[in-house]
Subunit: 137 residues, 3 copies
């Protein structure tokens, strides 16, 4: 299975969900491309990966610290580790150039070692034309 | 058409959207699997289904009470009823075990009668490999 | 490639993302149907298109005004223009009738010139059965 995932949200739990799904597909022999855009692109800026807020973090009284403690206790990989695993398993990352221009970001501010390609919506479309499935997160 | 839907959000309107789409596909002869994870999984905990907040509920001045009144007036099924219909129409529900561990939830706290399978991301991937389409909600 | 997109969110950045992806696919020779429902449907009400809030607008200190300035400077089309382009490129728009009833909206309140069809979930399912891919935004 080949999957492309638009990572529009920058919320930590949603970026984690994108990576957990992506790593699951890669581990089972599939191909995955993540297209980081809008707030999701912020997670590719150096030093900002783990600074993402948890969406609805007050909703169930489970704050970010608590979440990280439970993740450690249950051996769930932390977000940076999920990203490193994604790359090690052969996952592909596209950074949205339009968002970079809108946010005033340059390549030297980005976690360039994670990024395979800087492109616009046409890159997403081409990847998706050859994919079996696509998600918007 | 076979569809798998990741229910990541726990917002009432998004869970309703997942069920309305799912029931529509089932009613037209398709197959649907809902994979409840993160905040979405909270909706499978006993007693919490209708306690979900409406996302953006203040946005248009249409509060939860108002929404429920209008739903009654317009004969739109209430959330629990949508879930009962989903099961009656043959829909399949997977509960994400990783989220249960993270949230410290055990099976006896869950609405077990709705759940067909407790599984991890591999269950989602297998279902999606055989599906025509997939959504992330 | 034929794509159907459920536009559930009414957030300006998400509606823009739906239109940018849709226009990209249309520009490369594909077919796209947008199914506006729940908060997304609000964007089809006359006079409300650009009144959408930016989701997470405080998150990175980039407010709506700043976003619009940067969009102008970088020649990114404004939301209404994206919608006009979508229609000019042959994109198709379905307005969810169930949401209209829930919200108490009538057709004469809608931006009718953008809407190809008023329908319920069955319209989405039929479009998606013939589509290669589908997204939920």
């Amino acid at each position: 299975m080949k999957m492309t995932i638009v990572v529009h949200s920058g919320d930590l739990d949603k970026v984690m969900s994108a990576l957990i799904l992506g790593n699951g597909i890669l581990a089972m022999g599939g191909d995955v491309t993540l297209y980081f855009t809008f707030w999701g692109l912020q997670r590719l800026v150096r030093g900002r990966f783990s600074k993402a807020p948890l969406s609805k973090m007050h909703f169930m009284g489970l704050g970010k610290w608590m979440m990280v403690q439970r993740m450690k206790k249950n051996r769930v990989a932390e977000p940076e580790r999920l990203m490193e695993d994604f790359k090690a398993l052969g996952g592909r990352v596209i950074a949205c150039e339009m968002t970079m221009e809108l946010m005033g970001l340059s390549k030297d501010q980005m976690n360039d070692q994670w990024i395979d390609h800087y492109g616009a919506v046409g890159s997403y479309v081409k990847e998706t034309e050859n994919a079996d499935n696509t998600l918007f997160i």
